[in-house]
Symmetry: C2
Subunit: 309 residues, 2 copies
């Protein structure tokens, strides 16, 4: 890919004014625009982090593997319960029983609400506290300067898109595309991590601080987002045969190394990440005629790559 030129028509007015004073060849000339991909290609190895195997879920479908990073920093009790359920093989043989367009794909035990038919939870806990938000103290937060209507501040924490309220001293994960949440009934503390959903549409940020989020999909989301939508209200399938079978959900730490998907994530506290965000906030390639000057939290890419040996 050839480096796109910086067209004068896409420079902000303030910069144009600067150039008109300093002259077109002055030292104030901006550096050439680099696309997000070019920034990633040039990023140092130290800007990337592995995903801890004990925080990595493999959702194994006939069509392939969906890789999920868990968020113990936001939902420690739910994540612990999920690990217990994984070790018991709770999800093996269950299915994706709800796919609602522009909203979520949901999976687990479709009979969970029927005591006569619900799967045994084994050693997993039957009651967990709601983990809608956490103490913001002690949480590194790579803040975005961009305005957000849903939260006083937005940014990234533990690699997840997040909101923060400095007055309340709270932080929470944001419901962006690919986020994994814990389905619940009406009571705030009715989720166990056994019923999980993945956001497959426009970010439903109204769910922020209303549901416990447990992680996000980092590879293979198209195996969920392209599933047939359930025809019933809220996307349920009327016929169990329409569900997508789940072969197993496993923790990477319990999978032989040779069978693991080795991925790395770009750290959000790096200059590379900030440069990627800016390259997306103000696109100055040949295609974009008007850089937005803004980026929404849920439009920020969280780059993933296959680990190099």
């Amino acid at each position: 890919m050839r480096p796109p030129p910086v067209a004068s028509t896409v420079l902000p007015a303030a910069l144009l004014a600067l150039l008109s004073v300093a002259g077109p060849l002055a030292a104030a000339d901006p550096p050439p625009y680099r696309s997000a991909q070019q920034i990633l290609d040039a990023s140092p190895a130290a800007d990337w982090r592995p995903i801890e195997p004990e925080n990595t879920l493999y959702l194994e479908l006939d069509a392939g593997r969906v890789v999920i990073e868990l968020a113990p920093g936001f939902a420690p009790e739910h994540v612990a319960n999920i690990r217990t359920l994984v070790r018991e093989g709770f999800w093996d043989g269950t299915g994706i029983y709800r796919v609602q367009d522009n909203f979520v794909a949901q999976f687990g035990d479709a009979d969970a609400d029927d005591p006569a038919r619900a799967k045994d939870l084994g050693q997993a806990r039957r009651k967990l506290p709601a983990e809608f938000e956490r103490d913001a103290r002690g949480l590194a937060f790579d803040r975005l300067p961009d305005v957000d209507g849903w939260a006083p501040e937005v940014g990234f924490a533990d690699g997840f898109a997040a909101g923060r309220d400095p007055e309340a001293g709270k932080a929470w994960m944001a419901h962006c595309y690919g986020v994994v949440g814990a389905g619940r009934n009406l009571e705030a503390d009715s989720s166990l991590g056994a019923e999980l959903y993945v956001v497959i549409g426009q970010s439903p940020r109204q769910l922020d601080r209303n549901i416990t989020q447990v992680g996000r999909v980092i590879q293979g989301i198209e195996l969920l987002s392209a599933l047939p939508r359930g025809p019933e209200p809220m996307g349920f399938y009327p016929d169990p045969a329409q569900r997508t079978p789940i072969r197993a959900i496993r923790l990477a730490s319990e999978v032989p190394e040779a069978e693991r998907t080795r991925l790395q994530l770009l750290r959000t506290d790096t200059q590379s990440f900030r440069d990627v965000v800016e390259a997306r906030r103000n696109r100055r390639d040949d295609f974009y005629k008007r850089p937005a000057g803004h980026i929404d939290l849920c439009n920020v890419p969280l780059p993933v790559r296959v680990a190099k040996d």
Copy 2:
């Protein structure tokens, strides 16, 4: 559905203060919360509008019909060209050749860029002006009070989600889920309306004012959003056999009345619409523990119903 009670924990502080002065049984008691569906069920017939048949496209797939409302108020020249192309049967026998996860499904003549193989455009124009934005004067604009990072003002015009810049005197359609845009090459004025895409993911608002938008899907988007993603970069299918065939694209005005899909849209200048938006901005049902106090332009539902006889 039983009407959900208004829990005191979800009342805004200002209202609680009012109640503590006026007493719990005073006339200041808020009306019971009504869900969006309850508001729609109670809406007067005059709050709904038909869709003009000459502004309605039917994208006919083997799996069913996708209904698109065109936006001549924003892209008059593209819409006129699309009508010409429809009358010539331009799309009949073409296909959906690109589906990129969390972005777009795109269709038309996959060989459009190859002069030797491109389909004949017939009487359609070969050059159109870019219609990225329009004069805001004379355009009724039902403004949302909610902050938006992408545009100085957001709201609804001609029934479409839109941005507006009062200083520049411009308005434009916003790239929300379901929006239909006119694919182009690098030049701003390189779109003809022959290659169309539909947004099937998180709203790519960075495209606002960078591409001509021509309408939005009002029914059947799941026939596009659930298609298999193309494995090539940007979601293209390497094998033409993987494309989803398009039987035809037709204008409702040229389809016998008995074959039309009779839909109505809620007018955005009505109290019913404002009530629906508020019901979504601050959800006070049994499920939500913390109303958001905000709604994003692209999270606002634009209600559609089957026309009553």
